[in-house]
Amino acid sequence: MKIKDNYILREIAGSYMVIPCGEELQNFSGMITLNETGAFLWKLLTTQQTQESLVAALLEEYDVEQSLAEQDVAAFLNAMREGGLLVDA
């Protein structure tokens, strides 16, 4: 899975924001803001990832327990899917 094309992650005045671009503006229904770890996962998802690879990356980057990392990745992916932002390979 990866993030759909035509979305840009921007850091503006200390906030991470996901901005639709080009043709995706047709589907623009609201702004998305991410915290630092959400932005970390978003950047990874600009290339193909699996749920497991995201959890592994999170464990390597942050001092967090595996079960919590798994919960957080699942919650993040769920939010991205609900927003129609993910493309499954």
Binding site: I8, G14, C21, Q26, L34, A75, G83
Partner: protein
Amino acid sequence: MRAAFYDDWAALKDKLSAAALDQGVPLFGTFELTPFCNLGCKMCYMRLSKEEAAAISRPLSCNDWLALGEAAQKSGTLFLLLTGGEAMLRPDFPEIYEGLSRMGFLIKLYTNATLVTPALQALFRRIPPSAVGISIYGASPETYERVTGQKEAYEKAMQGLDFFLSLSIPVQIRTTISKLNVSDFDALCAMATEKGADFVYCSVLSAAVRGAKSDVASVRLAPKELLALRAHVNRDLSPETLRHIAEDKDACAGEAFSCTAGKTSYVITWEGRMRPCLLFDRPYAEPLLCGFSAAWDAIKNAANKITAPPDCRACKKSAYCTACLGAIQAENRHLDEPSAYHCAWGECLYDAMHPKEEEA
């Protein structure tokens, strides 16, 4: 690891604005893509002829605007307004618009909506702006002829307005009220209501700026006409109505700019000069020569040092004044003294609000 989906634009904008103000980020940008327009409005504050523009500078190229867009994006601009003149007059408008739309801005477009060709309609259907402000100058072909010199522009504008409304994006009808169209005020309000558009109007018109010439002095409303319009719009001129204006003024007392100009917003005018707002001739900086960040720093610093005319700072009726520094500079070409027009309007408003003192 939360992702927040914001539907509340106002709340998000407020949060970003506060952070941008704190950090000096140029969150709001305006690109004035051209000084030219297909309409000939008598009160226009900035329209230039080709000869007048050539005597000042050369218009920026498509590549110049895209380079400025890239730099603005890197510097933190999110809200980008594209305006003119009439931006769609540029043959390369589609390239500029599409290029900027791929950089991660929320683009708002100001237009008179008379030049929305089928090709441009296809572009906007494919890549809609986040919002559009459409200048509507009257509610009939006859009024359009009086204001713009072009009777047929009315029908074109109505078609353009309906097109943008069909995109299901926020559409704002923006109008400039002068002696030439004040009689259409209610019809313009009704048009906005009927079509489901927001409605904003400006009735205290600015003098021409940056080398432009206009007939604004002969067509803008006199203070008593402005008062009549305000009474008509507000239904009353009670002290309560004015109390809010006074409170707003108190909140920004001591600051030269009560708006975002030079704090979190900038404009880049058609020849590539960055300014605090569209009304300012000076200060300006040249981002294509010195770099965007250096230009923004220069504008921030310069705007911070600008002070209101001494008489304005000492004026006891400032709560009733609608003049901003840009309007004063436009009126006088300097900031050494107040704008006589705005003073007369403020006095008129003050007198209307203090009938007992006047009688006493």
